[in-house]
Symmetry: C2
Subunit: 332 residues, 2 copies
């Protein structure tokens, strides 16, 4: 019988996440109980929110316990089924953790049609990150024709989609990314009007040049120095879509934020959201996105890392911006 | 012929406003031109936003020029009229500055009916401050039955109305004010569920005790230490109505604000507004408020200072929270 390789949270990170914060263990492949299915994981999704689950701090979701399997969503193949709703060979999406095998109840799973799109897109553009972009842009960003929209982490799984949505609405879309290769991809493949490298010495001047009338919508994925650059450039009535602040997730003590008096003067709307409040809108997003992807009007990029043992290093790279596109671990 | 006593901006304040930042001059009463009216001011409205007009910094409105008459709205009596739309004796509301006389065009003025309400309420509960509370609560705060609403500067012209609106919506309303007399007024006269003195040594503990489930709506009038106390206590999905930050208006350098990651985690909406974007809603507010005032269901308090020479000192007191209720200068 095969073994189940699992990545556990070995300890809570202090500041920067290290590989020593994880442990890799091998255990028996579990047996599905009555009404359950046995799943062979194919693709694991590594996402920034998982950093939050490593900390004991109160948040919108329970932390992962020390010694427990790290949390993630995955795409898997049904190997055994004790429920007529699923049969061996079916491909499903669910939340099962950084491991190769798991058991689950069919009602926790969403069956995927491999003919519709490559199944791993259910973890990226057709899954949580794509839905995040859709919900944040439609509920908070609401870009209008001719407005200037700035997207941080523009080559990432969420930013890439958020920017393409804003572009489709007729906005001028300026990406911010780390490094020339990502910036070229954002401009040339994703079709943003510009993309600025936040590591460039003249980043601030480039931001001013790209946004001569200020920023009407800022999609916040990163926080830190990029937030400090964009915030003072928000235009009157700007919307700041608070999606994440990955550059600060390793900070042991929160950095100060911007003085909020400009929220009064400029009538800003600074609003956060969590995609899990809006799971029920996934079908709406998939129905809109699938034809656009097929028509080549909605692009995405995957950063595939092979084998579960590579997950800790890949996750640390994600927090440091070393991934390029939606980060996936191919495990099956 | 009478003289026109005027208060000019003598210099831009550095930090704290001082009486030396103003000069008091006497000039001739102006003559109305064709189509204009001569106005004898009766009541001047001193409001925190006027601090912003004293600074050269870019804002949503032009600053007052050094050497020019300080800006304010006033209620006045028409003394001479060169326009059939108004006749001597009519009482009007308009924007004319810290002075005793002015000329204006009738189209800039709103005629008041003294039978409807005391005319000076057009500067308070039935004017800009009341409309501010109405717009901010209906557009941003949106308190729901049973929610906890915290109002800073709760005895002030805006806060008193904002809290009474939230109370009428069925919310639990907690005021914050400076000093026992103001807190007693907020509880006993305005009917808030509680009012906390931010100067008390146990203010933070009292805030926790008053808001055991956190704060669903925070009406921000003050900034500074009160903001730092309330912000971490915002509940999931809280709305922070950014109306002003009077405690920081004299700061030469803006204080840091809160780290915004909690806006993501808690799905906060932090939104600012300026009442002058919504002047067209004044009739709607007056129509709603006048019957409530007559029925004793909407209370207000005026802090009346006599004579234009007292305006600079009264304005400095306003910035330091020494007024108690809507600050008015009685000049006629």
């Amino acid at each position: 019988m095969a073994e189940n390789t699992q990545v556990l949270l070995a300890r809570r990170p202090e500041g920067k996440v290290r590989v020593e914060d994880f442990s890799i263990v091998r255990s028996a492949v579990p047996e599905p109980g009555p009404g359950e299915v046995l799943l062979r994981h194919l693709w694991l999704s590594l996402d920034p929110y998982q950093r939050g689950r490593m900390s004991a701090a109160k948040s919108y979701a329970q932390p992962v316990a020390v010694g427990a399997v790290m949390e993630c969503r995955a795409v898997a193949r049904v190997e055994k089924s004790n429920d007529p709703a699923l049969k061996p060979g079916d491909i499903v999406l669910g939340a099962y953790g950084w491991q190769e095998w798991s058991v689950a109840s069919p009602k926790e799973l969403m069956k995927l049609d491999p003919a519709e799109a490559p199944v791993q897109t259910a973890l990226g553009i057709l899954g949580m990150p794509g839905l995040t972009a859709h919900v944040g842009m439609s509920d908070i960003g609401q870009p209008k024709r001719g407005e200037t929209v700035v997207i941080s982490a523009a080559s990432g799984a969420v930013g890439a989609v958020a920017g393409q949505i804003a572009k489709a609405e007729g906005a001028r879309v300026i990406g911010i990314a780390g490094g020339a290769a990502k910036c070229a991809y954002v401009r040339e493949e994703l079709g943003f009007d510009a993309c600025l490298d936040h590591r460039d010495a003249d980043f601030i001047q480039a931001l001013d040049a790209a946004c001569p009338k200020g920023v009407d919508v800022y999609w916040e994925n990163v926080g830190g120095a990029v937030q400090r650059a964009v915030f003072p450039r928000l235009a009157d009535f700007a919307r700041m879509v608070m999606c994440g602040m990955i550059a600060e997730y390793n900070d042991p003590v929160p950095q100060p934020g911007p003085n909020l008096m400009s929220a009064v003067r400029k009538r800003l709307r600074i609003q956060g959201f969590i995609v899990s409040d809006s799971w029920q809108r996934l079908p709406e997003w998939r129905a809109a996105a699938i034809p656009l992807i097929r028509a080549g009007k909605l692009r995405y990029r995957e950063d595939v890392v092979d084998g579960i043992e590579a997950a800790p290093e890949a996750f640390i790279g994600l927090l440091e911006g070393r991934n390029f596109g939606k980060l996936l671990i191919k495990v099956g």
